[in-house]
């Protein structure tokens, strides 16, 4: 079936380095993609989104890249900080549906 997946379950980076979290999606009908951050003991928090008519979108210290040719989504975090330690989920919305499809998550660990 259609699904959203992640390449790496755990990513460890040095504080101050850039982080890249990857995600593959399989539903070609998806036109909207979202990244969520979930800290321990909290619910997921919206980080950034991108529509399928865009290749790149930037926020504060975060950038999302979308490659529709290979159905790949990535989240880049610049100058990673200890507060960035969390589980990151990508999600896709196939055609404005209420049913958001989540990936299984990547844990980001920031080494001091």
């Amino acid at each position: 079936g259609e699904s959203v997946g992640l390449h790496l379950p755990t990513l460890s980076v040095q504080e101050g380095d850039n982080s890249i979290i990857n995600c593959a999606y399989s539903n070609s009908a998806s036109d909207y993609f979202i990244w969520y951050k979930q800290e321990s003991g909290k619910g997921p928090q919206f980080i950034i989104d991108i529509r399928s008519n865009m290749d790149k979108r930037q926020g504060q210290r975060v950038t999302v890249l979308l490659n529709k040719t290979v159905k790949h989504l990535s989240l880049q975090i610049a100058a990673t900080q200890p507060g960035d330690s969390a589980v990151y989920f990508c999600a896709e919305n196939p055609g404005g549906s209420y049913k958001l499809i989540f990936g299984s998550g990547t844990r980001l660990l920031v080494r001091p």
Partner: protein, 114 residues
């Protein structure tokens, strides 16, 4: 500060019990959702509601029901709890026009069924 509030952070129930999980949002959002989160499986949609008294099945509705009598409140009901319903339950809401996308989540209820 806007928020989605889930009534319990931890719950322990016995097999066969009827369980109520409550969720309240103060953002006047039309859409509300119940997800469960299990290790390695990500978030899976149980039910959602796009208006008062309206409900739609998600991907895993079996064993659950929901109630939305007021706009701000969305309840998840486990009619007869089973051990395979031990999980983290997350409530979320979203404003009209965003569908299931820009979700605002509560902190979750960790339910253990013994």
């Amino acid at each position: 500060d806007v928020k989605v509030t889930q009534s319990s952070r931890y719950l322990v129930k016995r097999t066969g019990e009827k369980v109520f999980l409550e969720c309240v949002q103060d953002m006047d959002h039309e859409n509300m959702f119940w997800y469960r989160q299990d290790p390695g499986l990500g978030l899976r949609l149980i039910y959602f509601s796009y208006d008062v008294k309206m409900k739609e099945k998600g991907d895993i509705p079996e064993g659950y029901s929901v109630s939305r009598e007021k706009k701000e409140r969305f309840s998840l009901i486990l009619e007869s709890a089973s051990t395979n319903q031990t999980s983290m339950y997350l409530c979320a809401s979203s404003p009209v026009g965003t569908g299931g996308s820009k979700l605002f989540f509560g902190s979750g209820t960790q339910l253990s069924v013994l």
